[in-house]
């Protein structure tokens, strides 16, 4: 167990990380999330559940994901050694599957007969559709209409896997709007439906539960790095949308004060451009949305802004509550990365290592590009490469075409 001063003890029994988190939901949903919490607590200590999850992680997802020393990238940046935690090699192409497997087993235990989910980049939608195909549950994926367009390959994948994809036209047609619509569906179909949230946000117990399912990333990474270098890395970097790959990567290191932790938020057109970014911590302030108190992009009257990011998976005006707390306590340094920086990082990794990253992960890489040259050659930086970029090839191509013309 972690000591009382550990940073790994959250949330408290009210689902709070400091002032963040909580259960800000309509009464209709309250009994459901209490029930979910009970089932999750039971599953967590059930060896049969854990064994099944472990078995799937090994044989279905392909875990452990490799820790890869990116030699050419390291040479190019001319500083610290750069390592990649290769979550993009997981089945379905991102870290999202880790969470989906944990939750689908829970949905089965709870006797639910239908699954819903929201998705931005479509990676969570694909991972959800995948586990629903495997476990034979019908699923409906809510996706903003803008995202349906910019992540077309993933929409096709979801449909082929048997999911119903419902485009959401409200607002700017991005992740926030998809989440609103998923909540409306859930409140309507409470008896049958399991809401499989895709990031470490939403009402308690989702932020804790999703973090636990994603913590395998950091736990493996720590052991792999120890094995390779015989010590801890100097810095660990991840991109932050809702924050699931980041919290999963960071959690194992929270009490290791010598390991610097960096979260890359979507800086869009720049943090000074009003409503032109999706950096909720570096450019927003605390508020309440989607079941939790957390940093949000909002106007002076508490109306939520849509935000902007080139990356659909980071285009969300909020962030998981544990990150808000880690931001306030300064254990993690959150930095905004612009669309342009992410595009440059996307190309660099592709050309130096032959790995096409997801645009989301490219935000983390852009932070590594800034950080590595400032460190010594015997130091090490690890990036969580949360997803692969196949889904982005077309839209990046379009952007680059525009930039060239």
């Amino acid at each position: 167990m972690d000591g009382i001063n550990s940073l790994r003890n959250g949330p408290d029994e009210h689902g709070r990380f400091g002032i963040y988190g909580g259960r800000f939901v309509a009464e209709t949903l309250m009994p459901l999330i209490l029930d979910l919490e009970r089932h999750y607590r039971a599953a967590k200590t059930d060896p049969a559940y854990q064994a099944e999850l472990q078995n799937l992680a090994t044989h279905y997802t392909g875990r452990p994901s490799p820790l890869y020393f990116a030699e050419r990238l390291t040479q190019h940046l001319g500083g610290a050694k750069v390592w990649l935690k290769r979550e993009e090699l997981n089945h379905t192409g991102s870290h999202k599957i880790n969470n989906c497997l944990g939750q689908i087993l829970l949905a089965k235990r709870m006797g639910k007969t239908r699954v819903i989910a929201e998705t931005g980049a479509g990676q969570h939608g694909v991972a959800t559709a995948t586990v629903c195909a495997k476990f034979d549950l019908p699923c409906t994926i809510f996706m903003g209409a803008t995202d349906v367009e910019r992540q077309a390959p993933n929409v096709l994948r979801m449909k082929m896997l048997g999911a119903e994809v419902r485009p959401v036209t409200a607002g700017a047609g991005t992740l926030k709007d998809a989440m609103n619509e998923a909540l409306r569906d859930w409140v309507t179909n409470v008896e049958s439906t399991y809401y499989l949230i895709g990031t470490a946000a939403g009402p308690h117990p989702y932020p804790e539960m999703v973090r636990d399912f994603q913590s395998v990333i950091g736990t493996e990474l720590k052991a792999q790095f120890q094995e390779a270098e015989g010590r801890l890395p100097d810095a660990v970097v991840a991109c932050v949308g809702g924050g699931s790959n980041a919290i999963g990567t960071f959690h194992a290191f929270l009490d290791d004060a010598d390991v610097a932790l960096y979260g890359a938020e979507a800086g869009g057109h720049g943090i000074d451009v009003e409503n032109g970014h999706a950096a909720s911590m570096t450019g927003g302030r605390p508020g309440v949305l989607h079941g939790n108190r957390t940093y949000l992009l909002q106007d002076a009257d508490g109306q939520i802004l849509e935000g902007h990011s080139i990356s659909a998976g980071l285009d969300y005006p909020g962030v998981g509550p544990e990150h808000s707390w880690l931001h306030d306590t300064q254990r993690v340094t959150y930095v905004p990365i612009t669309d342009k920086e992410a595009l440059e990082a996307f190309q660099l990794l592709t050309r130096t290592e032959g790995i096409i990253p997801a645009l989301e992960s490219a935000h983390g890489l852009a932070q590594v590009m800034k950080l590595a040259p400032t460190l010594d050659k015997d130091q090490s930086v690890v990036l969580c490469l949360s997803g692969r970029g196949d889904k982005d090839v077309e839209s990046v191509g379009k952007y680059l075409g525009l930039l060239n013309s």
Partner: protein
């Protein structure tokens, strides 16, 4: 302490009829027309008014109220503006209770203490905040009760007997029974189940029980009003505002459209128990 809400329900109980509770969105379709709609409600037959505080992300609302909120926000409505509407209303009406209904974030950003002080000053009687369940009572419910403002809780078909006392504990004014699992504006699936649910809630509390979500016509009002102490109508009114517009602008029919429906519903509640 008795409030305007307590007095109004007591008076209607003496008349042996349910209350007609009407929901409109503050500032829909524009600020002056929204004020005119609000001002017209008591005369048309509304006994209690729920005034919607528009929010960018109304997660518990169906399309009609979503659109009403968008129109209000596009007209420049703010929480300060909503309180201003209540103040204006109170210049001419000292007796009709007003309950503000919406989501927590705008109140949180306004500042809870400042909001409660300004709401009291403006003449607000109660609050319904959809995303504040009893588990979050310390945020706003308890401070509101202290400030003398009723905090009206929603109970739903998923609130079972074990949970009901928790939900009712800090509720005051009245209890709002949400007739179905779903968003505002959908249709009631089973009338019989609603009657049973009202009886179940009444076994736990002496507060009046109003039923909302899915009530659209005078017949619905008469039917549901046989058991309930109040019936709440919202989406049809907001929808009527939307349908009265010409290229998004208010017309001379806009206020009348709402007034006519309210007058019809007022007939419904008056024949509920005859």
């Amino acid at each position: 302490m008795t409030t305007r809400i307590d007095r109004r329900f007591a008076a209607l109980k003496a008349e042996n009829r349910p209350a007609l509770v009407t929901f409109v969105m503050a500032g829909d379709p524009d600020l002056p027309t929204g004020q005119a709609i609000l001002n017209a409600l008591p005369q048309a037959g509304a006994d209690v008014i729920e005034l919607g505080m528009p929010f960018s992300d109304p997660m518990a609302d169906g399309v009609a109220i979503q659109l009403g909120g968008q129109r209000a926000l596009a007209s420049g409505q703010t929480l300060t503006g909503v309180l201003g509407m209540v103040e204006e209303f109170r210049r001419k009406d000292e007796t009709t209770p007003i309950v503000l209904m919406g989501y927590y974030n705008p109140i949180y950003i306004y500042g809870v203490d400042r909001f409660l002080a300004d709401a009291t000053q403006a003449g607000v009687d109660g609050l319904i905040v959809v995303d504040l369940p009893p588990e979050e009572d310390e945020e706003l419910c308890l401070p509101a009760l202290k400030a003398g403002i009723n905090f009206i809780r929603l109970t739903t078909p998923t609130t079972d007997d074990r949970r009901l006392p928790t939900v009712l504990a800090n509720t005051s004014g009245f209890v709002y029974y949400v007739s179905m699992t779903g968003v505002t504006g959908a249709a009631i699936k089973s009338r019989g189940a609603v009657g049973e649910a009202v009886d179940r809630i009444k076994a736990h509390t002496d507060l009046p029980v109003a039923v909302g979500f899915g009530i659209k016509t005078a017949d619905d009002a008469a039917d549901i009003g046989r058991h309930a102490d109040g019936i709440v109508v919202g989406s049809v009114l907001v929808d009527a505002v939307g349908k009265s517009l010409d290229e998004g602008r208010a017309t001379e029919r806009t206020v009348a459209a709402v007034r006519d429906i309210v007058a019809d519903l007022a007939q419904g509640v008056r024949r509920a128990r005859q």
